[in-house]
Each structure stands twice: as structure tokens, then as C-alpha cells.
């Protein structure tokens, strides 16, 4: 008989004797079976977990590779856009120099808490709490924005508080333009809360829903280029101008903080035109 067969015979004898001994102790048989079973089950569970982790790792890796490729592509696009913008700035600077044009200095922004918002009544306004020590400053007519765009302008300030006339108020008017075509008009509030109207845009001008509307910097209060909203509908039934509805870029239902611009508006005397001259 070969050594291998003898080894098998030996193993069989040992197993049979162990089974026989276990059978003579039934109360311990369950424990012993568990001792044998638990490591095997643990081993199987560990192997299954390892396979699952490996598969998940491969999936994650594939997803990351895909995202990475997309981001690389996006970075290339942005780099190209950045280079184009730099080129345009250089060109503007070159053209501005002979004209003696001086760009206005960057305005300083003051962060203020929004303590009250009234965008339902006829007078749509908000009240801001200004930072300490700013009570002596002149805040009237200064622009107020949020991170999303124009909120309005200060109409009254007293002590630590300032009242802001929001862009949605029917008495508010902001010089605006369509970003895509640079066509200018005036944005006013409407009867409906949360809807603005872009007026004085002639029928010849091309306007499409989805066009971004930004400040034009022609009203003496708001600097150029701050988002006002997005065109939602355009009707051309009027005689000379489009009837354009604009959704404000600022969500008036979730106001918490706003920025008050420390820019000096054009004095009212200049804005009043002939009347001011007469005075």
C-alpha cells in the first residue's frame, strides 16, 4: 500500500474516531461543530467581502478616470477661455490708454444682516442691520447685492439699520442690459411678486428667453455687470417695445445676508437733470 493511501486511511480513522467521540458527548457536539463551522464561514464571508471591495474599487476607479478625463477637458477649455480673456483685457488696456479712460476702483463691500423682508405688500423692501461703527456713514442710494445678484438700493438709513428698496418694488428702476447683445433697457418691479419687467427694449432688438440680464451701469447707482435676472418670456405685441418678463437672480425667499457697496453714487443733483440745473 502506498504512503498516500496509508495517509488517507489514517485521516479516515481519525475522523471516524473523532465523530464517534463527539457522538458520545451530544451537548458538546454543537459547540465543536460551531468551532469548525465559524472559521469556515468567516473565511467565506471575508473572501466575498474582499471580492466585493475589489469590484467596488474597480468601479470607483473607472468612475474617477472618467471624471478625471472630463475635468482635464474642462480645464483645457477654461485655460483657453482664460487666455482669450487675458488677450481681450490687454486689447482693452491698449485701446483705453490713448483715450485716457480710467477704470473705476473696485468697491468695498460691507456685509450686513437681513433682519426683515417684505416682498408681499405694495412696498417691497428689506431692512438690514449694518455693522457697528457704520452709523455715521452716508448709506442712502448705495447698491445692495447678494452673492446671486442685485437686491436693491438703500433708501433710508438710521443708526444701525438701513431700509432697502428691492428691485421687485414697482417704484424701483435699474438700468439694465441683456448680456448677450448688450442691448440696454430698464428693469422695474411688477404687480406680481418675484417677477421683473425689462422695459424700453425696441422690437428690432433680439431677445430670447434664457438671456441673462445684468446691470448696465447707467443709472448712477449700480455698477456695470451685476446679475439682475433671466428672461423668462418675450412678447412683441406692443407698438415699439418688447414686453419682457425677467425672473430675479436673487431668491427673495432665502435672504440672510447682503452686501452694501461703499461706492459713492452719482449725486442726485446731476441725476435730476434740468431741474437740478435750475435750482
Amino acid at each position: 500500500m502506498s504512503e498516500r493511501r496509508i495517509a488517507i486511511l489514517f485521516a479516515v480513522a481519525v475522523i471516524v474516531l473523532l465523530a464517534s467521540l463527539t457522538a458520545q458527548s451530544p451537548e458538546r457536539a454543537g459547540d465543536i461543530a460551531l468551532w469548525v463551522e465559524a472559521p469556515v464561514k468567516g473565511l467565506v464571508a471575508g473572501a466575498v467581502g474582499a471580492v466585493e471591495r475589489t469590484r467596488e474599487g474597480w468601479r470607483t476607479r473607472a468612475r474617477l478616470e472618467r471624471d478625471n478625463a472630463e475635468l482635464r477637458s474642462r480645464v483645457r477649455e477654461l485655460e483657453a477661455a482664460h487666455a482669450a480673456a487675458l488677450g481681450a483685457k490687454l486689447e482693452v488696456d491698449l485701446l483705453s490708454a490713448p483715450l485716457g479712460y480710467e477704470r473705476p476702483a473696485d468697491a468695498e463691500l460691507v456685509l450686513a444682516d437681513v433682519v426683515s423682508v417684505d416682498h408681499r405688500s405694495l412696498r417691497r423692501s428689506a431692512i438690514l442691520r449694518l455693522p457697528r461703527g457704520s452709523g455715521r456713514e452716508e448709506w442712502a442710494r448705495r447698491p445692495v447685492t447678494t452673492v446671486d445678484g442685485v437686491l436693491g438700493r438703500v433708501v433710508f438709513a438710521g443708526g444701525a439699520y438701513a431700509r432697502v428698496l428691492m428691485v421687485t418694488d414697482r417704484e424701483s428702476s435699474v438700468g439694465a442690459m441683456i448680456e448677450r447683445t448688450r442691448r440696454q433697457g430698464i428693469v422695474r418691479g411688477t404687480r406680481r411678486s418675484g417677477v421683473l419687467s425689462l422695459e424700453f427694449v425696441p422690437l428690432q432688438a433680439e431677445v430670447r428667453p434664457g438671456d441673462r440680464v445684468i446691470t448696465a451701469g447707467i443709472d448712477g447707482v449700480f455698477p456695470r455687470g451685476i446679475p439682475l435676472g433671466t428672461v423668462t418670456s418675450v412678447e412683441s405685441s406692443g407698438d415699439a417695445f418688447h414686453e419682457i418678463e425677467v425672473a430675479p437672480s436673487v431668491d427673495l425667499g432665502s435672504l440672510s445676508h447682503a452686501f452694501v457697496w461703499r461706492t459713492d453714487p452719482v449725486p442726485e443733483a446731476f441725476m435730476d437733470g434740468a431741474d437740478a440745473v435750475a435750482r
Binding site: I6, L9, F10, A13, L17, L21, S25
Partner: protein, 171 residues
């Protein structure tokens, strides 16, 4: 004399001695495990098959005589017999130190298996603790001369057979 017959004779002799010791000198009967001696001798003087079958047979006979669960000594002796037979193929068993060592290791392994299984199965007691080293030492002390005697007996049997074959050849 064929190997099964020798094994049967050895088993009969060991059983007889164990029974006599249990009656006359119970302490000595408990101290020396003659079945382990027989198993180690069978394993060292034969091949692996002799080790397994000899160990199994000796163990089962011992189980019949003992009060422990049936199969306990059978398992322990089977392991010791097979281990001794496998070792005998790798070491020089004729050296005295090796013989001592193999006998001591065989007795120790037997004790370890028996005590371990009794503890795991919780089916009986077999006098553990300090009795183990004494039992191993006593079994080794009896086992080494037995191994020497077995070698002598084998040499004598071989010599006798050779002589017999020589005489037959002369005729």
C-alpha cells in the same frame, strides 16, 4: 511469524500485564502506559501501515479495558503509531538518544491528545496536572528497554531464519 500475529501476541501480552498490574499494583498500572510502548515499538519497527493499524488496534483494546469514552485511546494511539512510523523513516532509531526521545515524545503526544479530548468533550477525567510528566517519564523508562528487546528479538529471529534457510540450502 507474520506481523498481524506478532501484533496480536503483543496485544495479548500487554493486556494481560495491564490487568495483572491493575489487580496487584494499581499505582504502577496507572503510571505506565504499556499500550503506548507497544504502539511506539510497532511504529518504529514497521512501516506506516503497521503504525496506523497497530496504533488503532492497541488503542481500541485499551479503550475496551479503560473507563474512558470508547475511541479516545484509539485516536491517540493511532496518531502516535502513525507519527512514530513516519519518523522512523527519517531518523536513525538505532541510536539510543533518538530512541529515548521518540519514546518520550510518543508518550507525551498520547497524553496531550487524551487530556485535550477529555477537556474538549467534557466526558470524563484522566488524572492530568502533575501526573502527566510522571506518566511520560515512567512510560519512557519502560519503553526504551522494550524497544531494545524488540530489536534484539528481531535480530535473533532474522538470524534464526537465515540459519534455517542455510541448512535447507545445504540439503
Amino acid at each position: 511469524m507474520p506481523w498481524p500475529a506478532r501484533l496480536a501476541a503483543g496485544l495479548a501480552a500487554v493486556s494481560l500485564v495491564e490487568l495483572l498490574l491493575a489487580e496487584v499494583l494499581p499505582a504502577a498500572g496507572d503510571m505506565v502506559d504499556l499500550f503506548v510502548v507497544l504502539v511506539v515499538v510497532a511504529g518504529l519497527s514497521g512501516n506506516s501501515l503497521h503504525g496506523v493499524t497497530g496504533g488503532l488496534a492497541a488503542g481500541l483494546v485499551q479503550d475496551t479495558l479503560a473507563t474512558t469514552p470508547f475511541g479516545l485511546h484509539g485516536l491517540a494511539c493511532c496518531v502516535v503509531g502513525y507519527g512514530a512510523a513516519r519518523l522512523s523513516q527519517r531518523v536513525m532509531t538505532s541510536q539510543r538518544t533518538v530512541a529515548w526521545l521518540l519514546m518520550a515524545v510518543g508518550a507525551l503526544v498520547h497524553q496531550a491528545i487524551v487530556l485535550g479530548l477529555l477537556a474538549v468533550l467534557e466526558v470524563g477525567e484522566f488524572g492530568g496536572g502533575t501526573a502527566v510528566p510522571l506518566r511520560v517519564a515512567a512510560t519512557t523508562a519502560v519503553g526504551v528497554p522494550s524497544l531494545w528487546l524488540a530489536d534484539r528479538f528481531k535480530a535473533w529471529a532474522d538470524e534464526r531464519r537465515t540459519l534455517k534457510e542455510g541448512r535447507t540450502g545445504l540439503r
